[in-house]
Every structure is written in C-alpha cells, then in structure tokens.
Amino acid sequence: MNKATIMSNATNDATGTIYTETVIYSATEAFAADVPYQTVIVTLDSGGRVTGRIAGERVRIDDRVARAEFRDGVPFFRKLA
C-alpha cells in the first residue's frame, strides 16, 4: 500500500452515508438522560459499516455524514452540508 492510499483510507474512515437510523425515546438507565437521541448505521466510504450516534442535526437514510468525535469509544457523526 503506498502512502497516498493510506492517507485516503484515513480520510474515508471518517466519512460515510446513512444506511439506516432511528430516534430512541425509551432507553436503558445508562442512556436515559440522552433521550430522545438518534442512532445510525453508517456505510463508511472506506468499506464496512459501523453503529454510531448523531451529534447535532437529525439525519435520514442516504444523508452524508462525517465523524465528529469518539465518546467512550462510540463514534458520533455529524451531517455534512
């Protein structure tokens, strides 16, 4: 793998497309303070899918997102304009 590919993968790992989503109203105690919150499965540009949360504006299927941060190992994505 050349350097350009590695860099491209590093970038693509953080962006993707919403495969599916839901807004959760009824949660376990650990997440009760967060409701309602949106969880998503993102198809990553680098391949594969990951389950994460949405920060900020709500998303729909096929929306483009970028990873904003990890919180306790959970990826939080933000909608791309």
């Binding site: 599916t20 839901t22 009824s26 105690e29 969880t39 959970v74 990826p75």
Partner: protein
C-alpha cells in the same frame, strides 16, 4: 434418524405474576405437560430447559437441574440452552436430535422466563445483552431501536408503511383477545396502533411485544411409540436451526434474516413441503416489522410484500394463511425463554382442534419460527398430523 412426535404439551398463562417465581412457573408447565402426555417424571430420559437470562432477571444459575429435580426428574441429563429469544426453540431442536438419533426416547423440554420482577429500563438492559455489547449496545441501541432501524430500511427499500406495521398489531391483538392464556386480551384499532407512545422511530408501543412471566413445555418421543402416550400425536416433520451475525451492522442486508431463510429451507426440505403447503404459522413477532420480514423470509409472500400481504388480510385468522392465531408475542406475551416452545404448544392446540374460539379450519400442517436477537439464531419447526 427416526421420526419424532410431540406427545404432550403444557403451558402457564402469560402475564405479570408478582407472586410467582421462575421455578414455580417452569414446574407448572412441565407438570401439565407430563400429565398431558400421560407419563411421569421417572419415564423421562433427558431434560432440556430453554431460558435466556434467569441469572440476570432472578439471580439464579444452574437452572436445568434446579427445575428438573423440582419436577421429580432425577439423575438424567438436565441441560439449559441459551440463544436469546430462541432459547427454547433451540432447546427443542437439541431435544429432537437426541430422540431422532436414538440416544433418548422420552425428552421433556421446558421454556421459561421471569421478567416482570425488574423495572422496564433494567429489562431493556438485560435484553440488550443479546446484542453486540461492544458495538451497537455501547452506542445506546435497545432491541426496539435495532428493529426500528430494520423497519426504516425496509420502508426505504420496499415502500412498507406505518399502516402495514399497525396491521400486524391489530391482527395479533384480535387473535389474542380470544386466547384465555394471553397476557393482553384487548382488541385494538388501526388508529390506536398508529398512534402509540413513541419507543424508537418508526416503532411505537403497539409495535413492541410484551414484558412477561411464563413457561411452556413439550414432550417428545419416537413416533412409533407415540400411541403409548396419546391418541393425538403431532409429528415433527421438519426442524432446523441456523445462525448469523449478532451485530446488525455486520449484516450485508438488514431487510432479510439469512438464518430464517436457511433454517426454513432445511426444514421444508426435511418435511418435503413448501411454503404454499403450510396451513398456519406461529411466527416471531417480537416487533411488528419482524413478522412482516418473517412472512417474506419463509416464502409466504414475495420480498418486500409482507406489509401489503398482511394489510390484505391473508394472515388474519380468517385468511388463507393464518399467522399467530395465539395472539403472537405481541398480545399473548413474550417471556423470552418460553416463547419457542409456547409457539409449538399453540400450533399443537390448533392441530388437535383444541384452540377454542380461535380454531382455524385447516390445521394439519403448521410452521413455527423462533428468532433470537436481531436474527443471529433462528429455529424453524414444521409439524403435521398428516
């Protein structure tokens, strides 16, 4: 392999029973089953217990001998099987292999769960243990939310609507209202089913099965010996268990369950029948969308057509393919570890013409589909009196 028959069934009502513990429920179902099969504990060669989370719900482990000895069954192998909501379907599958292979003759299978002693958020947390705790659950997913994401994608790809989902709930409640052992014997309207309290979009309260206490049991024997125990034996014509990823995000397509397709293909082949031959079914409607997808994966309706098939009334008690005449998990109740065996009991009731007000006219070939988690385990069983 030799043919196997169901020679006895037994069930507790499903509901919230604050005064009952796990063992008393399991013993009630097991004892009723032994009596129904005109046999006693000393004649049992092996005992299988389907239970998802007794250790978490009630703090008791080593559950199989804990229950079997209370039934008076001594000395024989007693084994607990855990496969999330397919725990007792899987227990039945393993019991079947023991009888079919000739290792055992008479095997008792009990499924049990005692859930209502915990508050709802704790129940949600325990159930979430059937998902991928290092991924989807850590991100805040609940089981309702996993099936909500499945529903969203199914709607997106096939045009499935909120009305389709509601039609499943309305139908199953109408059936459950006629079942004296059901937890929620209440008819609901489309309007109610569409407007329930939101749980995880697009699913509301009426799309979700119930939190329940209950137990169910079946007794197996070689078909050639069935006449010693009952004059109404029901044959296990086909049975198969299949597996898949636990995490939803590992599945290439979440609008279908490969484990359901695999298990049903094997069970159909074993029974020498196809989806069109099946006269009635007990399917795993843990959420309304799960019944719609099961209808498609089992081949009752084409891919993406499960919603319209339901709305058109095909799966109603009076339709050409009655599904969940017991009320399903939605209305009958869903004590998760009991559900797989309870489905079998409900099919056998229909096949013996003992289903009372909900009896359907065609009942000689039935199918049960028991799903674990978001599709990581599936057991499909085909029963016949033909």
């Amino acid at each position: 392999m030799r043919p196997v028959a169901i020679i006895g069934i037994g069930k507790t009502p499903f509901g919230a029973f604050p005064g009952r513990d796990l063992r008393s429920l399991a013993v009630e179902a097991g004892a009723k089953c032994l009596k129904n099969g005109h046999t006693g504990p000393s004649q049992i060669d092996a005992f299988f217990l389907g239970n998802f989370a007794g250790p978490s719900f009630v703090g008791q482990n080593h559950l199989a001998p804990y229950v079997s000895t209370a039934l008076g069954i001594q000395g024989v192998p007693a084994t607990r099987v855990e496969a999330a909501c397919a725990s007792s379907g899987s227990a039945l599958f393993h019991a079947y292999t023991g009888v079919a292979s000739g290792v055992y003759d008479t095997v008792l299978v009990v499924g049990v769960e005692k859930m209502t002693s915990q508050p709802t958020p704790k129940v949600t947390e325990i159930l979430a243990g059937a998902g991928d705790c290092a991924g989807e659950i850590k991100a805040g997913s609940t089981f309702a939310s996993l099936f909500a994401m499945i529903a969203r994608r199914h709607m997106h790809e096939f045009g499935t609507t909120r009305e389709h989902l509601a039609a499943v709930a309305v139908k199953n409640h109408a059936n459950g209202a006629l079942n004296p052992d059901a937890q929620m014997r209440k008819v609901i309207t489309m309007e109610q089913a569409m407007g329930g309290k939101p749980i995880a979009d697009p699913l509301n309260l009426y799309d979700c099965s119930l939190i329940s206490d209950g137990a169910a049991a079946v007794l197996l024997a070689p078909a050639e010996r069935a006449g010693e125990f009952t004059d109404k034996p029901v044959r296990v014509l086909g049975i198969a268990q299949a597996s898949d990823f636990v995490a939803l995000d590992q599945k290439p397509d979440i609008t279908t369950f490969p484990a359901v397709r695999l298990a049903s293909a094997k069970a159909y082949r074993m029974a020498g029948v196809g989806p069109a031959d099946i006269q009635l079914g007990e399917l795993h409607d843990c959420f309304t969308i799960a019944e719609i997808i099961a209808i498609e994966d089992l081949g009752f309706a084409a891919r993406g057509e499960g919603g319209p098939f339901t709305l058109e009334g095909h799966t109603a008690r009076t339709g050409d393919k009655p599904i969940n005449t017991s009320g399903g998990l939605k209305s009958k109740g869903h004590p998760v570890g009991a559900t797989g065996v309870a489905q079998i009991c409900d099919l056998v009731l229909q096949m013996r013409c003992e289903a009372g007000e909900r009896q359907v006219p065609r009942h000689s070939l039935g199918l049960a589909q028991n799903l674990g988690g978001s599709g990581a385990t599936c057991v499909v069983t085909i029963l016949g009196t033909i």
